[in-house]
Symmetry: C2
Subunit: 118 residues, 2 copies
């Protein structure tokens, strides 16, 4: 039963308020510029976008391509290595979809209001 002992390290690279949104954008759209990501994720600000992208880059999930020109141009995309996440994301997504239904059945449609936090 000790076969799950490393799942925390996978979780680590996925947590962060905006990482799911960023990954979704890059998976859906392929190569995107900084500004495009910013427009696609309306409530994010530059600092957070930069920060989350840097973390994903550090984990080798996204690739950052800098064009040395003025004004600057920087492109982001899912790296080859990062594409290996798709299995995990799929598993999470499938379970998550089912779980939302399960929660609806238990508590009714308004899930977010009934969660105990803090």
């Amino acid at each position: 039963m000790k076969e799950y002992c490393k799942f925390e390290s996978a979780l680590d690279i996925l947590v962060g308020k905006w990482k799911p949104a960023i990954l979704l954008q890059l998976i859906s759209n392929g190569i995107m510029r900084f500004g495009e990501l910013q427009k696609a994720i309306p409530d994010i600000n530059k600092k957070m976008l930069t920060q989350q992208l840097r973390e994903l880059e550090h984990n080798n999930i996204v690739h950052r391509e800098v064009y040395n020109q003025i004004p600057p141009k920087v492109e982001y995309s899912i790296s080859e290595y990062g594409k290996g996440l798709s299995t995990v994301l799929k598993a999470l997504n499938d379970w998550g979809t089912a779980h939302m239904k399960h929660m609806d059945a238990l508590y009714g449609v308004d899930r977010s209001e009934s969660e105990p936090k803090g």
Copy 2:
């Protein structure tokens, strides 16, 4: 490519500093009392243990069985529904294990020191 859009909701129920540890204990050991969990996870405190267990219970992942006796006895276990998480946890674990090796290869063994955060 929109097949990943719900993975965030799965992530939500897994995040929390102590949830991986708690799930691991309950998966490995089956039924456990509050005090046993506390001993098994040395650095957790009662408040956090209670809180994280309550969240897992709310999401129907763990079952809480109260015995009406003095001193109190409360047992926790993974619910039948919660066992459905195993596929996800396995996927996360497998990827996480590989990712740790990948990071070692990129940055050397001392991963934790080289992560950019904040």
